[in-house]
Amino acid sequence: MITTEDTLRKSYEVVIIGSGPAGLATAIELKKLGVNDIIVLERADEAGGNPRHCGHSPFGFREFKRVYFGPAYAKKMVKTAKQLGVKITLNTSVISLGKGGLLTLSTPHGVNQLQAKRVVLSTGIREMPRAPRFVSGQRPAGIMTAGALQSMVYLSGKKPFKKPIIVGSELVSFSAIASCRHAGIKPVAMLEKNQRTTAYRPLGLFPRVLGIKYLLNTQIIDIEGKEQVSGVNVLNQSGEKTHIVCDGVIFTGKFTPEASLLRSANIEIDPNTQGPIIDQFGRCSDPVYFASGNVLRPVETGGWCWNEGVKTAHFVNASLAEKLPSTDTQLTVNNVSNKIKYIVPQRISIEAGKTLTIGMCQFQLRFKTAVKGGGIKLLYNNAEIYDKKLQALPERRVLIAIPEFSRIEFDTNDLVIDYS
């Protein structure tokens, strides 16, 4: 244990919630910036976040100049933070986010409150389990997400089934194959409801090479089994129904930000990302709260989240020094294309005379479907400020520079983003 919550005080300058890549990067960078009165709260009994149970490579190239497997990367991050004197309290769950940064916590010693001048939410992301996917059928044992499987395999050395099927073809889906192999579990099939692999197409070879049936254009329609899963029925593009015998179902991907605390605190949520609505500095609708890392959107790499965390430290530092534009005047970023799934940040704060304006520098976009032949446009008061030809695949990172609003005339109309 790094520190115990015995050392928790009643107030801090900055409280960081979550000790994954984003949270630890923020903490480390704040230390470097000389903001010392900080603490990282971690609800698990070990620091490091999701990479702890991602037993695959590559992690860490961007931040540590070498490649790690997830668990080793998590250890490296935690060690780096420790060396700089970052305090992390484990087994500390934030129960509610109060107005103005008053946090209610639960620790093994019971309920606790602390006050922060700024709070950074780096609570990360999780996969969508079976229930909200509305998959028909019975509810026997052996149904889980890839994350749950990975944590069982890598953290506890447990094996929940022998011959599961894998639903989805995101990066994590292929990582689930690796986790299965690590534990001696033999997946029987991998299903993707679309016609192409969601992750990079060559990965589709991976299951095939291992003798795992790789079924594109195929979706799961129901699950059978009393105590343990006994099989699933799947449907392909031509309407053919097939029964597959298996003893488990791994639902992979469909990531969703872990933003429940924010919802309950009435911090505004973007229905498209399911994460908080932020401005270009990562500030939420209550500007005491900052957010960074995968809580912002589904889903980015550990390295990306780390970088976001570093930037967030600078924004928090500037905010403490009152150097950020106020949130009183904000432009809304208006996505008018039905092809664009989400845009982050969703707001731009503007105040004349402030030197810091562009914040995180880029809008992050994702498309719902593959797009080709059109261009991405930024419009303000009907004037085009950006236009670039673009082709993109769904679920891939697309970036557009955030314009320098100090150089253009602005009022409070929406900033429009379109693809046409």
Binding site: S93, V111, R126, A131, M144, G157, K158, P160, R263
Partner: protein, 462 residues
């Protein structure tokens, strides 16, 4: 094999069986309860809408109405001593069409006949002032101030726990194979050996008619399983609703309810689907989607909120509208069947009534002079002080439902250790939240190692 002859053998440890064991034990009878599942509450009792009904809309003069009314009073009288929670909400029977609106006066009259005198008909405006997030399409409603919400699993668990602490016995993973009444006593052959009792009470729920046929070669009813699917919204939704939003019921069902649970989630359901199977609690995608749509029609702000769970329960309905409680005097046998949708609300009343029927057989005991009340009742309700707020909770394991490690360890040990993962969920709420085990499966499989017949992990790695 137990050599003792019990006064009563209760077959089935659902909500009704648990209340029955408690009632008879406190009245002074020696009681053995047999349950075929690895844990209690594993049949019809595992899925319900967790409401403590006043019985305002039950058929007047029915057994059901009498049991609900009696049970309601009893629950309020004993709940503090048993450390059971109560969410004092209220209910609104909402009318959305002209036709439904015309039925409200009939429902109100029935409520008054049933002794629910404080029920009143209120306008759309008053309805919306009570529930501001309700769709403005509501036309009028009946306000029932004393319809409450309770913890659907802790309550029956504590009934059974109190029975055990006062001398009753419970055999789980024990299935009845056959049985014979020799004129004096019952010899019941089970999968765990033969047991003896002077009288048998059939509380077998979904298998009530089959158990009757097996033991007394006749039955007064036929179980017609009726499935009800539910969806559960995450905690943020609980800010949107304060009372129990009921529709105007029809002949078959009370209809789809929107209710804030005592755990701080929002439940939408159930459907009412007749089916043959007594154990197939499958959910169906299209039905779940329809429930979500229905929920959003009633409370538009539910749109887009995350759904944490979906489940289905099966009610033991019969060809009759009322409960089927029947004494077979010459066989020392009481069948308690067809407790279809108000079991949680009526269980304490049913147990009292059945004890009355038992006395009519000339049987009597000296009630327990000193009654033991459970000391440590874990509080899962958000209305109470949950373990995460207390010193020594050992840290939270399930981060969605805030379940502490100490709560899990306590459920796995003690007087009635849980026998299955499903039982552990009901006892602690672990994995019942939005992530469905993404964050806690590893820890949980370690904590439960060696505890269940069907373990979470079927083997250690490799």
């Amino acid at each position: 094999m137990l050599t003792k002859t019990f006064d009563v053998i209760v077959i089935g440890a659902g909500i009704v069986g648990c209340a029955m064991a408690r009632q008879f034990t406190l009245e002074g009878a020696s009681v053995l309860t047999i349950e075929k599942s690895a844990d209690i509450l594993d049949g019809a009792s595992k899925g319900n809408s967790a409401i403590l009904h006043t019985g305002f809309d039950a058929p007047p003069d029915s057994v059901e109405q009498a049991c609900i009314a009696d049970s309601y009073k009893e629950y309020l009288a004993i709940r503090k001593k048993l450390k059971l929670p109560l969410l004092k909400t209220s209910a609104l029977v909402t009318a959305w069409t002209k036709e439904e609106e015309s039925l409200l006066t009939g429902i109100l009259e029935k409520a008054h006949i049933n002794g629910v005198d404080d029920a009143e008909l209120i306008t759309a405006k008053s309805t919306l002032s009570k529930e501001p997030k309700l769709s403005s399409k509501v036309r009028a409603s009946i306000y029932i101030p004393r319809e409450y919400v309770i913890d659907p699993w802790t309550a029956p668990y504590v009934y059974m726990l109190q029975a055990l602490q006062n001398g009753a016995q419970l055999m789980r993973s024990t299935e009845v194979i056959s049985g014979e009444f020799d004129g004096e006593q019952w010899l019941i052959n089970t999968s765990s050996g033969t047991v003896k009792g002077a009288l048998v009470i059939n509380c077998a729920g979904l298998y009530g008619d089959k158990l009757d046929a097996l033991l007394i070669k006749e039955t007064a009813y036929e179980i017609r399983p009726r499935k009800g699917q539910f969806i559960v919204y995450d905690k943020a939704a609980s800010q949107l609703v304060d009372s129990i939003i009921l529709p105007v019921p029809n002949e078959i069902t009370k209809g789809v309810v929107v209710v804030k649970t005592i755990f701080g989630n929002v439940l939408v359901g159930p459907t009412a689907e007749e089916q043959k199977s007594r154990d197939d609690a499958s959910v169906v995608k299209e039905t779940l989607e329809a429930l979500r749509k229905k929920g959003e029609e009633i409370i538009p702000a539910l749109a887009g909120l995350p759904i944490t769970a979906t489940f289905a329960g099966i009610r033991p309905a019969t060809e009759f509208k009322d409960f089927c409680i029947k004494t077979y005097q010459d066989k020392n046998y009481i069948s308690v069947g067809g407790i279809r949708s108000t079991g949680l609300s009526a269980a304490l009343g049913i147990a009292k009534r059945v004890y009355g029927d038992y006395q009519k057989l000339g049987k009597t005991h000296a009630p327990k002079s000193t009654i033991i009340y459970p000391e440590n009742v874990n509080q899962l309700a958000e209305t109470e002080t949950r373990d995460w707020k207390k010193e020594g909770n050992e840290g939270i394991v399930c981060h969605c439902e805030w379940v502490s490690q100490r709560e899990i360890k306590q459920a796995l040990t003690g007087e009635m250790p849980v026998g299955s993962l499903a039982g552990l969920k009901r006892r602690t709420r672990v994995t019942m939240g939005r992530c469905q085990g993404f964050y806690c499966s590893a820890k949980l499989s370690e904590l439960t190692q060696g505890c269940f017949k069907h373990p979470m992990a079927i083997g250690d790695e490799k």
